[in-house]
Symmetry: C2
Subunit: 310 residues, 2 copies
């Protein structure tokens, strides 16, 4: 198994990414605090390039490629934010990118991926079909796989958001992120270790991380039912290991709670965030996390169909 | 007449404000560029503390007060963003603030001003009534007036947004801002002098700046009819002088164009901005400004009634 990334790896990633990723702002709202009963600080990765924290990990991988690897190009499978992030990071570096997206992917995210100049291929909506088509491209075109989350470089890159967060707000009592494949949560927990506890939050309809965290056995398949399209995947192997070692707990929320949280964030901060990003806010609201005082939330992404707010 | 602020004044303000104001992010959207026919970069002062660029000027004044002045407290009249900004800057410095707001002010902005702990007084909706009530408070309580725009410290503070903008995007071919009292436009033009041309933009229903700029005679009263509530005031005396000397032109837009621009910005960047902030986008769209290439727009504020987007 791959070795768990360290705080040093996250710090190295931050140096590598300086000037390449956006140092996103931290917003707060007194009225939102009153609604939630805690003082909440929002790290706006929804404003990150390509609209999500994913750009940090993708850029961390791309910027470490050798000239030979760069000439080959990259491939991944993703239904959304990682697709856009890798497409943009590759475009900026002048590298070819092929993205395999399952049928039924968010059309808004697909259009953005194409707009970043990537070649988008469509496959059946199953993990097996995604991996098979990726493998085919790797074999035929010599492309390098950039996994969306189960990769120490992706985890370290994702952790740089928490590093910035704690630089600006060293007084945070806890940080909460959503958890899907586990890249953001494991990176955040790695960056914050010894500074403050880190919690995950996920939809009841895709609760593999919560179950695995509780039982100690990683859940490797599930049939997700949730509007939070970024959180439908199962935890990666390395991600599971890091989360078991470094995360304090995982809260669960319903989709109705998520939709309400989206509306609150928009109302009080003007930010249109995607459902996955609202999950931590919903978890603060429903009391499924034992946090108090000053709580940092990483708003993971803003690639939402604007029609959801109409 | 007060002396025009210099680039050095803006640079000094930036040093003074370091760590006190948010270094706001710059967003862009390929699809928005396609709609506008220029490459546009948005400096998100809607995410600034207190929700608008006004916090820069207010903080620049507050941070230069003597201990004796601090003990007296401050007063201003404002229907909106300057009210919130001064209230927050004063609260952070532990200084008393009294804000005179005219009847009919945006209730959302009024509530936020009160939430920042200021004493809010209501006056009749006329320039004379606002100034009279301010004067009364100054005389009775010994409060210091912090004018919303007609003040070199306010102009220099507002200019720090453009300074940051040009640090990150030295390749801008032009910068466009809205113009009401003229604090942002004159500060921006001062910061950008010799770097790139700066344009203003204002609603047809409050076109005093355009008329004054064209005729050379400042328009000192008008009866505004526009949804852009931040742009209903007339240009200040010092602001007019700076704008005549340093601004390249002023575009005009209709309220319908402004509303459409608000929706575009929300759709393509997820940012809920107030109507005043959408005026430069509307001016880019309707061709009333002779700009091309890479155009910077300062999104002046985000203190909008969220119901406008429902």
């Amino acid at each position: 198994m791959e070795e768990m990334p360290s705080l040093k790896d996250v710090e190295d990633a931050a140096k590598r990414l300086k000037g390449k990723v956006m140092r996103t702002p931290i917003l707060s709202s007194r009225l939102l605090n009153e609604r939630l009963g805690v003082q909440v600080f929002l790290k706006c990765e929804n404003l990150q390039f390509a609209g999500a924290f994913k750009f940090r990990g993708a850029s961390n991988v791309i910027s470490q490629l050798t000239p030979e690897e760069r000439s080959r190009g990259v491939v991944t499978h993703s239904s959304g934010n990682h697709a856009q992030a890798l497409a943009l990071a590759a475009k900026r570096a002048g590298i070819k990118a092929v993205i395999v997206m399952p049928e039924g992917s968010n059309p808004y995210k697909r259009a953005a991926t194409e707009a970043h100049g990537a070649t988008v291929l469509t496959c059946e909506n199953s993990q097996a079909a995604r991996e098979a088509m990726c493998r085919e491209e790797m074999d035929r075109e010599g492309l390098l796989l950039v996994h969306p989350y189960d990769d120490a470089r992706i985890i370290s890159g994702a952790g740089t958001a928490a590093l910035e967060f704690l630089q600006e707000r060293p007084d945070l009592d806890a940080i909460v992120t959503p958890v899907g494949g586990g890249g953001l949560l494991s990176g955040t927990a790695t960056a914050a270790e010894g500074r403050c506890p880190v919690y995950g939050s996920e939809p009841e309809g895709a609760d593999d991380a919560h179950r695995g965290f509780t039982s100690g056995e990683r859940v490797s398949s599930q049939t997700p039912h949730t509007i939070s399209d970024g959180l439908r995947t199962c935890l990666g192997v390395l991600n599971f290991q890091v989360i078991r070692a470094r995360v304090a707990g995982i809260g669960l929320v319903t989709d109705d709670e998520t939709l309400e949280a989206m509306r609150w964030v928009k109302f009080h901060t003007g930010q249109a965030i995607e459902p996955s990003s609202a999950v931590p806010i919903a978890a603060l609201r429903n009391g499924s996390l034992p946090v108090s005082g000053k709580v940092g939330v990483i708003l993971s992404g803003g690639n939402v169909d604007p029609a959801l707010f109409e």
